[in-house]
Amino acid sequence: MSPVEEPATPPDAAGQEPAIASAQPRSPRAGRSLAGRLTTIALVFVGATMAASAGVFWFAVSHVVREQVDQQLDVQITALKGALSFDAGGRPMLSSAFDNPPFDRPGWLWQIDTPGGRLISPPPRRPHPPRGRNDAEGPDRPSAEGAGMPVEPASPTDAPGDRGERPRRPIDLAMEDHAGPALYLRRQDAMVEGRSVTLIASAPAGALTVPARDALGWLLPLTLLLGLMLTLGTLLQVRLGLRPLRRLTDEIQAIERGARARLAPAQLRELQPLTAEINRLLDQNETRLAETRLHFANLAHGLKTPLASLTLALDREKDPDGALGRLAERMEQRIRRHLALARKAASAAGLGAATALAPVLADLLALLPRLHAGRRVTADIAGMKDLFLRCEARDAEEILGNLLDNAFKWAASAIAVTAAREGGMITLLIDDDGPGIARERRAEVLRAGMRLDETVPGDGFGLSIAEELVTLYGGRLALETSPLGGLRVRLTLPAAISGEAG
């Protein structure tokens, strides 16, 4: 016979899903983490700081570089202005050559516009061809000896067709229409010898950007290094800083699975109120539970003792047809069910406790044969010494007591108990060789406790109480057919990791 021949789930099990879910351990997929939050915030801050500092640096470097270039250009313009004179024809001329560095390099140009013509800087001696151009070395433009090269303002071409396909003509800095790299210009309008002139000096735009870019070349890795160190610091801080919280979480989980009873007193001032409060709540819960149980015990005593007197008082004279006796019996059953349900409500499910299975089973299996003589039990209790139920001892006794009592009640001669751990759950099989329960009645038997006005004397009531307790603990109870011929109760309860619970 296959052990898993059918699910044997009561139809209302679906309705109890929330209870199961609430009894489950905290799910590990708890959305966002505090560590993640802190890290993210710190990283965003570090990133922003790095970007801002890089920007500020860039700005400062560019500013310094531009000042230098401006100065160079202004010096050139001033020098040009000082050297500018006009011949008799009103044509401009310079008293000396102005190809001093850096004006001997491409992009470093000057230009003087006068009413009598234009002077431009001589071509570079060692031209550095601008990027993207592969001209052969050599003077770009026809050189004028000595002074600046006079150019006709409206000259259409210059040595057309003698060099390459592109016409070489001097750049008109005033218009700045040339095919080379962009230029940075300084211009000055002045009066020289009564003529209005415009002096323009240029530097390649690269002269401004390249030094700044070079600066960035070492600035950026440095910033990145800084950022990296800040990030490492942040991670370390989050890791070390949150360690007490993680320890607290671990302890709470340990309480949940019954590995410890209370939280250790917090070392940190900030956490002390939290741990104290949690411990206080645990104490309170325990006290209330004990009080509630005592109350129910007293209630049971208070109700059942007079009922027992009543039952004893009813003899054949006072109750000839047994009607009063049956009434007392019905009262007794209602009281029993209500008290059993109340006890279930006072279960410690969710409080977290670990109970060793072996001693509970040993106690019950020592007790039950006295109540039901002539039954033989097979159970490898020694083999169960490593099994711990995540269940309070009283509740474990109540669950197992009801299930085993039922097995003893119905067994013809033999009961077998086996237990094994499967992952986080402990599965207990209780087999008997009694009449069993018909498949279609099984769900009904487990539900009996819910329906209070049904009067099935004793039968299966223990099973339904056990089932409800098991459900509270996030376990499962299934009724199957036993290989012994009777009923097999398959009990699944969450396992506790260890049994050091106080």
Partner: protein, 223 residues
């Protein structure tokens, strides 16, 4: 058979006591845990009926106290608490049986007789001694297959001797197990009862051991 009935509810205790007396039990009552603890350790009882919810000292503690002081009388726990933790706690404390309220008094009587019988070392319900057969479960005597009619005191003495057949029972112990506190010892002194019993079952079955007590024996040929 002398039973210690520990029950704090007067009405119930009185009813149980009355019923047990009709079944030939000698009943001593204790209404709280303190008295129960004292009585159980200082007097001789064949069996005790113990409630768990007691004033002063609760039942499980009383039971533990008895066992700690070597009072090894059989104990039936009679309680309103029917949860398994209570049953387990009771048995671990040393209880021999467990009955929940309300209950049928017949069942209580049967269980008490069974406890007394087993405590005396008899596995079966019927105890035989010579021509006598005692059904310890039903509380009936037969002699040579015929029912034996006995008075309450005679029944008590004979059942006590029967449960410990072939063993000398101390005279004082026998008296403790037979007489109620208010019983009229004069007209029904132990010697008188024993004499009457000898007439009913045969003189040689009850031996008088001088200075010690009495012994029930299957007869000269058996001993």
């Amino acid at each position: 058979m002398r039973v210690l009935l520990v029950e704090d509810d007067d009405d119930l205790a009185a009813r149980i006591a009355a019923h047990l007396k009709t079944e030939n039990f000698v009943v001593d009552r204790a209404a709280n845990g303190e008295d129960a603890l004292h009585a159980g350790t200082t007097e001789t009882f064949d069996v005790a009926v113990l409630d768990l919810g007691l004033p002063k000292i609760d039942g499980v503690t009383v039971l533990k106290g008895w066992r700690a002081q070597a009072a090894n009388l059989p104990v039936l726990v009679l309680t309103a608490r029917d949860g398994w933790p209570d049953k387990v706690a009771s048995f671990k404390a040393g209880a021999d049986d467990f009955l929940t309220k309300p209950f049928k008094v017949e069942e209580l009587v049967l269980r008490l007789r069974a406890l007394v019988r087993r405590a005396s070392g008899h596995a079966g319900a019927q105890i035989a001694c010579g021509p006598l057969i005692f059904d310890a479960q039903l509380g009936t005597f037969e002699r040579d297959g015929l029912p034996l009619k006995l008075t309450a005191l005679e029944w008590r003495v004979l059942s006590c001797l029967m449960l410990r057949k072939e063993i000398v029972i101390d005279r004082r112990e026998l008296m403790e197990r037979v007489y109620d506190g208010d019983a009229e010892v004069d007209s029904n002194s132990l010697e008188v009862i024993v004499a009457r019993l000898r007439r009913k079952i045969g003189a040689d079955h009850i031996e008088t051991v001088r200075g010690r007590g009495y012994r029930l024996t299957a007869g000269a040929e058996a001993s």
